[in-house]
């Protein structure tokens, strides 16, 4: 197929105004905030060695925190602040999306601006500062008419570095609920849609390049005392910002926001829910790629209205229970706990997406392994891989405790690559997901949890507190409950991992609905 006639390109382009607009707004706001904080700090610190050391040290430490972690840390921080402000001042703000992204990115922009401003100001010839004094300038006049103009080239280099960093790092704000060009990258990686990944990366790079060049234009304009260049550069940035605001203002706000975590099944289910809502004439949009630590809080605080979670995940991770209950008991207890937070457990979809130990069928048959207990004697010579969170999850502790499992090596992997790795023999066992379509594709087998160490993971639909009594929403989603069995979900997930045009979450959701609707 011709690369450019792939319908995923037009799908990608159709998201561009939304993703790019949000990306520009969050980056420019963060950069502006960063400059507003960094420039006065740098000026204040330039002749104070202690403050200078402390500031640069702090900014360097911030820089060593990976961007994804920094962004993720701001969410709980703001959530706590929001609840404090509600308790003390009686008003609440959304700790979701824009605000934490702007704060984290602003913090991230500080190091190059601080360092270059301080370096630039300290690099000004002391004889010129004395000359400024000598001709009768106040310290302030000396700063603004002599020191800052002379330091400007070095300062602008820092600002340009910061701009490129912020625009690049802003792609990581997707998991905390800020729509950005990162939506392409996260969705693309999860659904093996390389067109999306490529598109997202290229768009972010292009945006960084454009902003960098506009800043360069301002810089040469100031240096050459050309008002025209400064005006053109500034106008360019304002135009960029304005252009991204127009579509955002023109679009009516969606009344229902469907959340999705960062993996393909979630993208498909969110698309399915959004489609059902639209079919019921309820306007809906999805907020995808949310971190699993963020999404439940986002539901409780009403930033999203509905999403699909898994009973075991909530039980163990959200509510920190280490004991394992039978399926029905766990569900009913969960319902009670959720009700305390005013979250409605609307019902189960009908399948489980549990963690499971998975290995190639052939190898398992060779060794006579059917259950996890059968695996134990071989584990010492085997290597195991899992996603980034599994080894720190209570389920893994539970499995280790119940079976006394100890592998030779443990590796963390991107979930999409895990299945191929176990199929090719690069690792011996993986912690897979029972609903994953790749299990069938690679002819893998799920080992039986004979000691019931892994909790049940029913897919459940959760509604935000403010939607508890929303009959329209409830009746729109009712047809989905209990209608998606594990085989159907696996087939859907396999389609979503297809890496072709039919693999887009919307296409798969449509296929899934057709299957559901055809059922008796």
């Amino acid at each position: 197929m011709n690369l450019l006639s792939d319908p995923r390109w037009s799908d990608a382009v159709s998201h561009l105004p939304d993703y790019l607009g949000n990306h520009v707004r969050v980056s420019v706001t963060a950069l502006a905030l960063g400059l507003l904080i960094s420039l006065p700090l740098a000026i204040a610190a330039r002749n104070r060695p202690l403050l200078r050391g402390a500031l640069l040290g702090l900014a360097s430490v911030v820089q060593t925190v990976p961007g994804l972690a920094l962004l993720a840390l701001f969410y709980p921080l703001l959530l706590a602040l929001a609840s404090l402000s509600l308790a003390w001042f009686g008003f609440d703000f959304s700790a979701f999306g824009f605000l934490p992204s702007v704060l984290a990115l602003a913090l991230y922009s500080m190091l190059p601006v601080l360092r270059n401003t301080i370096t630039g100001l300290r690099g000004v010839d002391p004889a010129l500062i004395e000359a400024a004094q000598g001709v009768g300038m106040t310290p302030r006049q000396s700063l603004f008419t002599v020191e800052l103009p002379l330091a400007l080239p070095v300062m602008m280099a820092g600002i340009r570095t910061a701009a490129v960093w912020v625009i690049g790092t802003a792609t990581l704000s997707t998991p905390i609920g800020q729509t950005s060009l990162g939506n392409y990258i996260f969705a693309g990686l999860q659904t093996q849609n390389w067109v999306f990944v490529l598109f997202g990366c290229a768009a972010a790079a292009l945006l960084a390049l454009v902003v960098d060049q506009l800043l360069a234009l301002i810089e040469t304009g100031i240096r050459l005392r050309s008002r025209l260049r400064v005006a053109l550069g500034a106008l360019g940035i304002v135009a960029l910002l304005a252009a991204t605001l127009v579509p955002a203002l023109a679009r009516p706000p969606s009344s229902y926001i469907v959340g999705a975590k960062t993996f393909a099944e979630q993208y498909v289910l969110a698309a399915l829910i959004a489609e059902r809502l639209q079919a019921a004439n309820l306007s809906a949009a999805s907020r995808e790629g949310l971190g699993s630590n963020v999404i439940f809080d986002a539901l409780v605080s009403g930033d999203i209205d509905v999403y699909v979670d898994y009973s075991g995940t909530l039980w163990a991770n959200q509510f920190h229970h280490s004991d394992i209950r039978p399926r029905e008991v766990l569900l009913s207890e969960l319902k009670t706990i959720l009700a305390q937070q005013k979250v409605t457990l609307l019902g189960e979809l009908g399948f489980e997406n549990a963690y499971a130990l998975v290995m190639p069928r052939k190898r398992a048959e060779q060794l006579g392994i059917r259950t996890i207990s059968d695996l134990v004697p071989y584990a010492g010579t085997m290597s195991m891989a899992a996603d980034y969170e599994f080894f720190s999850r209570p389920e893994w502790a539970g499995i280790q405790k119940a079976y006394g499992l100890k592998f030779r090596t443990q590796r963390q992997m991107q979930p999409d690559f895990m299945y191929a790795a176990v199929a090719s023999g690069e690792v011996d066992v993986i912690a897979g997901y029972t609903s994953d379509g790749l299990i069938a594709k690679y002819d893998l087998v799920v080992l039986n949890d004979d000691r019931h160490a892994i909790p049940p993971y029913d897919a459940i639909v959760l509604l935000a507190p403010k939607r508890a009594d929303d009959q329209a929403l409830r009746s729109a989603l009712q047809p989905l409950l209990g209608r998606i069995d594990i085989a159907t979900m696996r087939a859907a997930n396999l389609r979503a991992a297809g890496g072709n045009a039919a693999a887009s979450p919307n296409e798969v959701a449509r296929w899934l609905w057709n299957r559901i609707a055809k059922q008796p």
Partner: protein, 269 residues
């Protein structure tokens, strides 16, 4: 002299590094209206420090400095500097401002209207003998060393000060340019009725240019007076300083023919 001095140092002291280095040690010196005083001394003699104390680029530890009768400590240092012209070593021109911008800076700080500043800049360019049209919009790095110092002098004179302080203004110039510039400045000093203190390490320049010379060594003022008065000083260092230019002049006289031929008529080669 009956008129009060324009600049007066009385038992002034200044030390650096927590008192370990005495840059200026108990110096008393008076400069009267219209006078041209040069301060001579080797590097580290404290001459630049003394100059910087006068317009409060630094503040004295001891003693009293007065400018036109006022104790400088009682005056806002910024206002003080705006009414004293200061010519820096190597010019001290702002590299990001044009010649006109540099010259007009002090009037601009004083809030003079732009048109008036422009007229004043042209007037000053004439005064320091730089072509208006050719130099006005140039940047300092496009000028020669001599031109830069001419701009430095023009900048110091821009706000019509009665006092000008000059810190080795012509030290880095070639001898011809240096001679031309110092002669030009001396003429300006007389014409505008300025009171000038100029620092130099060149005794010959000091003797030829100034009304009075002050000699500094290791923070102390060793002697002050006219050339003739200095020659009567019993101080060994002062004597040594005076001997050098005299000996050079004598040797030059011996080496060069008394009336060098200009037309080459009786030139052999």
């Amino acid at each position: 002299m009956s008129a009060p001095p324009v600049i007066a140092f009385a038992h002034v002291g200044k030390s650096f590094d927590g008192g370990r280095v005495k840059a200026v040690d108990d110096v008393s010196l008076e400069v009267h209206a219209g006078e041209f005083l040069t301060i001579v001394g080797g590097s580290g003699s404290g001459k630049t420090t003394l100059l910087r104390l006068a317009n409060r680029l630094i503040d004295a530890d001891q003693g009293r400095i007065s400018i036109e009768g006022e104790d400088v400590r009682a005056v806002d240092p910024v206002q003080l500097r705006r009414r004293i012209g200061y010519v820096f070593q190597n010019g001290g021109l702002f590299p990001h401002m044009s010649v006109a911008g540099n010259i007009g800076i002090t009037p601009k700080l004083l809030g003079t209207p732009a048109a008036e500043i422009a007229a004043r800049v042209d007037e000053l360019l004439d005064l320091v003998r730089l072509d208006r049209a050719q130099h006005r919009d140039r940047l300092p790095q496009e000028l020669s060393g001599g031109q830069r110092q001419r701009v430095g002098v023009a900048r110091a004179l821009a706000a019509k000060p009665r006092i000008v302080l000059m810190d080795e203004p012509f030290g880095a110039l070639d001898p011809l340019t240096r001679d031309a510039l110092s002669q030009d400045y001396r003429a300006l000093h007389d014409r505008l009725g300025l009171t000038t203190i100029m620092i130099t390490h060149d005794m010959a320049e000091a003797l030829l240019l100034a009304d009075r010379i002050a000699v500094m060594h290791a923070g102390k003022l060793l002697a002050q007076g006219t050339a003739a008065e200095l020659s009567g000083s019993g101080d060994a260092y002062v004597g040594q300083l005076l001997r050098t230019p005299r000996r050079q002049a004598e040797r030059l006289n011996a080496l060069l023919p008394a009336n060098p031929s200009r037309d080459g008529k009786d030139g052999a080669a």
